[in-house]
Amino acid sequence: MLKVENLSFSYNKVQVLRDISFNLEEGKIIGLIGPNGSGKSTLLKNILHLEKPDYGRIKLDNEDIARMSLTERAKKISYVPQFTTPNFSHNVFYTVLMGRKPYIGWNYSKEDEEKTRQVLTQMKLEKLGERLFSHLSGGEKQKTILARAIAQNCNVMLLDEPTSNLDLKHKQEFMLILREKVDTQKVSILIAIHDLNLAAAFCDKILLLNRGQKFMEGKPEEVITKENIEKIYEVAVNILLHDNIPYIILNQSNSIR
């Protein structure tokens, strides 16, 4: 599926990503974790070719993404960024309809509208269809942006900390939607995520970044260990295992040991 090979990237001569390689397999979710500034967002942007790597290659089904046109790429990889609310926003239906952009000619077709309606129903957003995006709550906005990415109908989805502003219920709902996409339609997802417990519970694999380098990659219980977290995040933690899913508990004292 998606293959990242020896990716390096620097911004204003400061090296942000260094020699990162990994594979994202079909029907899997990889949780991308790491402290602030470790390069998670930058890695996603490089894969989307929003930033051009200095070195390395990103291949999708053995095709170099640098060789694809904007539209081709948009049909294969969708992106849920940390959203902004525009000054001139639109209703939810039209906002989700925008996900059909890579497929349209002069205008959106009846088919695109039908597809949009389906996605809204699947995500239980149909009641919000006429509401203005700027009038929605944070959770509703995030779901709308996800709906747009789903309407884009890509095999690979990249998400940049989509759950940061959501409450407990919305977080779970959000991750369940992703899980269902992956399990039923063999979509592959790379999600940058701050909430380690959420990552551990819903991801097949965890990729831990530290200062722009891949520190470790593996199953949640392999990567999220007391030793790794204390070393990379510089906090003292205890780890509980529940159904073999690691659960992090912050220690009261701030320092490590």
Binding site: K45, L48, L50, L70, T71, R73, A74, K75, I77, S78, Y79, P81, F83, T84, P86, N87, F88, S89, H90, N91, Y94, T95, M98, G99, K101, P102, I104, W106, N107, Y108, E130, R131, L132, H135, I145, Q152
Partner: protein
Amino acid sequence: MLLLLIMLISINIGPYEISLKEIIQIIFDRLTGMPRTDDAFLVIWRIRLPRILMAMLTGFGLAVCGATMQNVLDNPMASPFTLGISSGASFGAALAILLQIYFIQGPYFIVFNAFIFALTTSIIVFTISSRYNASPETMILTGIGLSFLFSALTILLEYFSSPEAVYNLQFWIHGSLGKATWDKLSIIFLIQVLTIPILYWKALNLDIMAYGEDQATSLGVNVKTTRLLTAGLISIIAASIICFTGVIGFVGLVSPHITRIFLGNRSRTVLVYSGVIGASLLILSDILSSIMMPPLVLPIGAVTSLIGAPFFLYLIQKRRRFENA
């Protein structure tokens, strides 16, 4: 429909009384090639009709520019003049009127100056801002910076000129539809026919770009190209209008907002309807400018703002966003 009605009323108004039946007869005669040279014919065909069409094209064009500019920059304060077009045009006119510096001889020397400087200003804005990825903020700030520069230069020129010359310049700047001819109309019309369909086509991209550059790119929109293309076309449309009419600014800001309040923010809708509203607003202002203090014809730019501004303020107060964006 509203637009047609206003046009009909408008063509009826003037110091020379002509019945509606007569007017229709005149237009019909002319279109079927019947030769006429009587006074009624001359008043309608040489004065009133060009003037009304000029008001229509000016209002339509500036409003379309305003609507598009607001979307390109996702900024409610943007207008066709955000790129420094009006101050550039004024400076061009000042050079021609005050210093007699111009590029071509003949009756169009002020017009050509205004056009060249309007366009030059926006080209400078583009060149500077595309170095920084043409971000909306850079575009706005560069436009504002250049506006101040050209206004300062114009003021300096005025300071060293005769009161008479300054009066002529002020008259030009305040805007007038009075000098409309079929030639000027066809130039403006041709430019709009060629450019507005492209703006309409690209309007879908502008909607998506409002949600952020990265998001738009990931949906297959070439953000930088779209931004420069649309802003470039706007510059040409606006420059082609104000070089003939002078600065009529308000219509470009207010028409899109009136549309947004009633019909939502979809760019294509806003583009078309603000054009119609802009055209109606300007024809209405033109009527008022000639009947408020006859036989004086008040400056159209001032009258537009005079009737548009209170209405605009009222709408903003009463704003109720219809949820059918």
